[in-house]
């Protein structure tokens, strides 16, 4: 990667233009509603624009560049056929009456029934645009369900301490009070700690299964029966659905509501942070509250029908996968994670020894190289050093249960050779740390930029380009 320092505004030259439109007389609007201030946008030729953004792209690392073991993000390969599909529907206005778009109706019906089959839910709404958006929608459905039964007291939601940060945030945004349940020493929800929390104020529990430590909550049947027994519902955070794809269905485990991240489990590209898609599925007794199915709740959580372009890609992936290949998806993801875990546990601290699912967590280096006057290498340093070797870093400092958390998720689309070279590099880094931790503490050394000063950036924020910066 080569450092390229331009911003598009700095390439601007008055008199250049890249658009091709016919002449037209200026708009004729009353002065009172017209823009007065000058509009500052760059003036460029088309080659300028293309070269600038191509240069920017070359400072980026994507799944197509190399291994991207970012835990809980399921950075699997994004099939290229999927990219060809949205263009076929690019011109369809979202308000065209359903009767005039039979092809699109078939797509929604097709993916709805496929996702229902894969998860054990009855139906999905596709309005949510991301996982967190799906969580919020799912929690709204849970609240709506209780309210419709006149059960107004259910305003508390149980969230494990290992949950993704979005869980408590989504609950709060939905007007629910978060009650935390502790994990036991095995990293799983402690059923005995759960029992006293249950009661007539509990709307439900949000669970990620396998949880953020990559461990399957094996007491799920008992948890489901306890929560249902107190009148609550079970929410399944689909962020970690990948190891269960083709193996276990959340609906069968007793979950009532769930979301899926189509950009994780169903292979659609992450796009540098979005667009994603977070469809929410429900068990039969909640279908009447789904936006498209019953309108009992009169819910609308986004402008139109969700991120249709993303939904198309996911559907294409499901059709390629088909009945024959789906059982291997989750199993191979799980195998890859366990393979890495077993290959590195002598160099990196493994707090929980059990078989993991699609991801697992190390708690820092076994030997961080600290000695008199020389501080040891931290998880951050390991992550930065990985960049030098051409790998993306794992998720770090999450989950919060461990101080030096390194969360690794390889996915099912990485070859044994890739896993082996990652393992080799991780071992090499552990060795470097033991011998010369400073090498890690000053990493990365081979990237377009070094570590930034984030403190100054946050104290004196510069959030837009002006002529003077």
């Amino acid at each position: 990667m080569r450092y390229y320092d331009k911003l598009v505004f700095e390439l601007s030259r008055e008199g250049r233009s890249a658009f091709s439109l016919p002449q037209a007389p200026d708009v004729c609007l009353p002065d009172s509603v017209s823009r007065k201030s000058a509009l500052e946008l760059p003036s460029l030729s088309e080659p300028d624009v293309v070269r600038h953004y191509t240069n920017l792209s070359q400072m980026n690392f994507g799944v197509d560049t190399g291994f991207y073991p970012l835990g809980s993000c399921t950075m699997k390969y994004n099939p290229k056929i999927n990219e060809e599909i949205p263009g076929m529907f690019a011109g369809v206005h979202p308000l065209v009456p359903a009767g005039a778009v039979p092809g699109i109706r078939k797509i929604y019906e097709g993916i709805d029934s496929a996702l229902a089959e894969l998860t054990g839910m009855a139906h999905f709404t596709f309005e949510p645009c991301a996982g967190a958006h799906g969580e919020l929608t799912g929690l709204m459905l849970i609240r709506q369900y209780h309210i419709s039964r006149g059960d107004f007291a259910r305003t508390r939601i149980i969230v494990p301490d290992s949950a993704h940060g979005t869980n408590p945030a989504s609950a709060a945004v939905c007007g629910l009070e978060v009650v935390e349940v502790k994990s036991g020493p095995d990293g799983l929800i402690d059923v005995e700690s759960l029992k006293p929390l249950l009661g007539p104020q509990i709307a439900g529990i949000m669970m990620t299964n396998p949880n953020t430590l990559g461990l399957f909550e094996k007491d799920i049947a008992q948890i489901a029966s306890l929560v249902h027994g107190c009148g609550g519902l079970l929410y399944y955070d689909g962020a970690n659905m990948n190891p269960l794809l083709g193996v276990v269905r959340p609906g069968d485990m007793g979950f009532d509501v769930m979301h899926l991240n189509l950009h994780k489990t169903f292979s659609t590209p992450h796009g540098g942070g979005g667009p994603g898609s977070g469809p929410v599925g429900v068990a039969p007794h909640l279908v009447e509250f789904l936006p498209e199915f019953g309108n009992r709740g009169e819910l609308r959580v986004s402008g139109f029908h969700g991120n249709f372009g993303v939904i198309l890609r996911a559907y294409a992936y499901i059709l390629m996968l088909g009945r024959e290949n789906v059982p291997m998806a989750g199993r191979l993801a799980t195998l890859s994670a366990n393979y890495i875990k077993e290959s590195l546990k002598d160099c990196y601290r493994l707090p929980l020894q059990s078989i993991c699912k699609h991801e697992f967590v190390f708690d820092g280096l076994v030997n961080d190289g600290a000695r008199d006057g020389v501080p040891g290498a931290t998880t951050l340093d390991v992550a930065k050093r990985l960049l030098d070797y051409g790998f993306h870093a794992p998720t770090i400092y999450f989950p919060l249960l461990f101080h030096q958390a390194i969360m690794i998720e390889p996915t099912e689309t990485e070859s044994l050779e890739t896993l082996d070279s990652f393992i080799e590099v991780m071992r090499k880094i552990a060795q470097e740390a033991a011998q010369d931790p400073t090498l890690l503490r000053t990493a990365p050394h081979n990237t377009p930029i070094g570590r930034p000063d984030e403190t100054v950036a946050a104290r004196q924020p510069v959030l837009k380009w002006t002529k003077s910066n």
Partner: protein, 436 residues
Amino acid sequence: MSTFAYFPHTEEDICKMLKRVGVSGLDDLYADVPADFIRKGDYDLPSALSEQEVRDFFESLALANPKLRVYAGQGAYDHYTPAVIPYITSRSEFLTAYTPYQCEISQGTLRYIFEWQTMICNLTGLDVANASMYDGATAAAEAMRMCVASCRKRNTVIASSSLLPNVLQTMRTYARFAGINLVETYDIMEAVCEGTLDLAGVIVPSINRYGIIESHDGLAQAVHNAGALLAMYCDPSALAVVKTPAEWGADIAVGDGQSLGIPLCYGGPYVGFMSCTQALMRKLPGRIVGQATDSDGKRCFVLTLQAREQHIRREKATSNICSNESLMALWCTVYLSIMGADGLRRVNSLSYAAAHSLHDALMETGRFEDPFEDQPFLKEFCLKPLFGNTGALQEALLEQGIFSALETEEGYLSFCCTEKARKEDLETIAQVARSI
């Protein structure tokens, strides 16, 4: 063994890996899962398709939808997409990256988001913008939440009934569950001056659901006198020519970036934008990119002000958004780089000319009344049909391959023209209207 194109594992690989893990078969990896939950037998899914079959399948479904030329808006506008945009946004370095957590290998994403933030600030006239939101409707709902979060112990937000219907519905949903008192009214000034004690914010459109550019003289001052914030919902394309939220005195601007060259694609993906005054910077939800300096003194860009965000604040966060619509923000950023200020003005000029010509042609048919006579509009307008069957025009136009004349809640018909408008289509619309 599997010969699926995306799974690289050979049978030998799997054996080797199982051995390392110390189990004898793949199902042993699920030994901790109660046996009842392990799926036995096939999933009821279609048999795997080849790549060509997938392409054929979607092509046939695409052909099942009649091809329509669009003369409708209501929040989704058929502006032209320059060829450069999909070419750039399909570069895999942009497409297949995740959120730029490791800034040292994400400067491409971070730089274009910084450019996007700058362009949104320049369009709206406000000081600070975030890295983007899901879409315009959710951005409006977040603006409502932001007003409440910024004004301690205040919980009422007044929204104009002239906002787009889907925007209002989304705000209503968010408000209901968050316990925000959302008041909808056409007479904003009167509602503000009534002096609601716990007024936190007011949300009005720059251009309303009827296509009218609204006048908001004195509103900002009245809202600020009441101790509340003013948010404005805008069409970013139109901001090249209409008065900006900053010029109206607004504190927050939101809207949908779709009009900046994003294809209609049946409603998504689009991209919401959100900007605000410097004073509200720390209350702005979502990701924000800031400029920084690296260890060698080089200019670089990072995710910043993260202490506001949900992964740190957890249940204390004012928003649960933890991503953005990055690629669509890139889409708009490249669009604005191609168009520049002159191009964006030209888009408005052409749209304006076509819409006014259609408006006049429809009025000449004698089949309509203009409920908004003499009020300024840009590219979208509503007319009141004088014929009984208000849906008939839309149906008749569909048969001509045209999607237009959307019926509104009030029984008006909504029309919209962009720079893509064709003269012969405008004539067809007027001619069909005459014959209804």
